[in-house]
Amino acid sequence: MDEIVIRDFEPGDTDAVVEITVLAWEPIFESSRKRLGDEIFLAEHPDWRASKGGSVRATLTRDDPARCLVAEADGRIVAFATYNASDRGMGRLLNNAVHPEFQGKGIGSRMYALVFERLRGLGCRFVRVHTGLDDAHAPARRAYERQGFRMLSKSCEYFMEL
């Protein structure tokens, strides 16, 4: 495999990051659709590709954008990790994903290591990350637990038809 370079996000990376978002979240939303049923799922996510891709695009392009690292392989963006730091010393790892064709190669771990380094540099003493407890998020949970993340709290999102 070509050498992977981790670097700061640049505005020209936006489309590639959004594309990876949509590819990487496909199994997550599919799992959610099965659990909720089509009717509730579509009410909650009428067009998940547009809304998820759009929310990541918005976090990168708004006036006060989230910080973001990307992984580049031979000039192609193959992964990204967004994060931010609160003024009280708590960092947050936000939306992050590796392109499905490049998963399982340790790219995520290398990005996380650099995110943590950056957060330390910003004065953070802790970092939090939020993810799903369903089967579709098992790879994400394993990745976070490998980094040393421990469970802080569990939560539930309930739905019903009216």
Partner: protein, 165 residues
């Protein structure tokens, strides 16, 4: 003991609602404190009591049509409250927000009645679905049971991880 009356929120309820909210979230933040250490909880979350009080105060003052209280008819005390809001995406989806019952009034089905009133209102407003988020820990087991009793039939579980840097 007479049954509490469910009615829309009034400006004079706000102080009681803030007090009930803070009391209800004490065990939740105590759990975070155990996991992270009290000092780190304060360092990273700031004054959660003030923040929680501000959330319910803002909801009641700025969106009084989207909050109900349960009032004890004998004493006039506020026994519990619930806030909610509606989003259009474009289907109208109702969401139950902050809510709690005062410890003196717990275990009497008041939360279930408050949720029932919100769901009725959401139907009137044309919502086809409702959602609510709650904790997955032991302290929230009564809340989860009350939501399930109110008809919340499907659930997606989430987790928050943390680590020292």
């Amino acid at each position: 003991m007479s049954e509490p009356v469910i009615r829309p929120v009034r400006p004079s309820d706000v102080a009681s609602i803030e007090e009930i909210a803070v009391a209800a979230w004490e065990p939740v933040f105590a759990g975070f404190g155990e996991a992270m250490g009290e000092e780190m909880l304060r360092a990273t979350r700031g004054d959660w009591r003030e923040e929680k009080a501000r959330q319910v105060r803002t909801a009641c003052q700025e969106r009084p049509g989207q909050a109900f209280v349960a009032e004890d008819p004998e004493t006039g005390r506020v026994a519990g409250f619930v806030t909610f809001h509606v989003t259009e995406r474009p289907t109208k989806l109702g969401e139950i927000g902050n809510n709690a019952v005062h410890p003196d009034f717990q275990g009497r089905g008041i939360a279930t009645r408050l949720y029932g009133r919100v769901l009725e209102r959401l139907r009137e407003l044309g919502c086809t679905h409702a959602k609510v988020s709650t904790g997955g820990d032991e302290a929230h087991a009564p809340a989860r049971r009350a939501y399930e009793k109110a008809g919340f039939s499907v659930m997606i579980p989430h987790v928050t991880y943390w680590m020292e840097l």
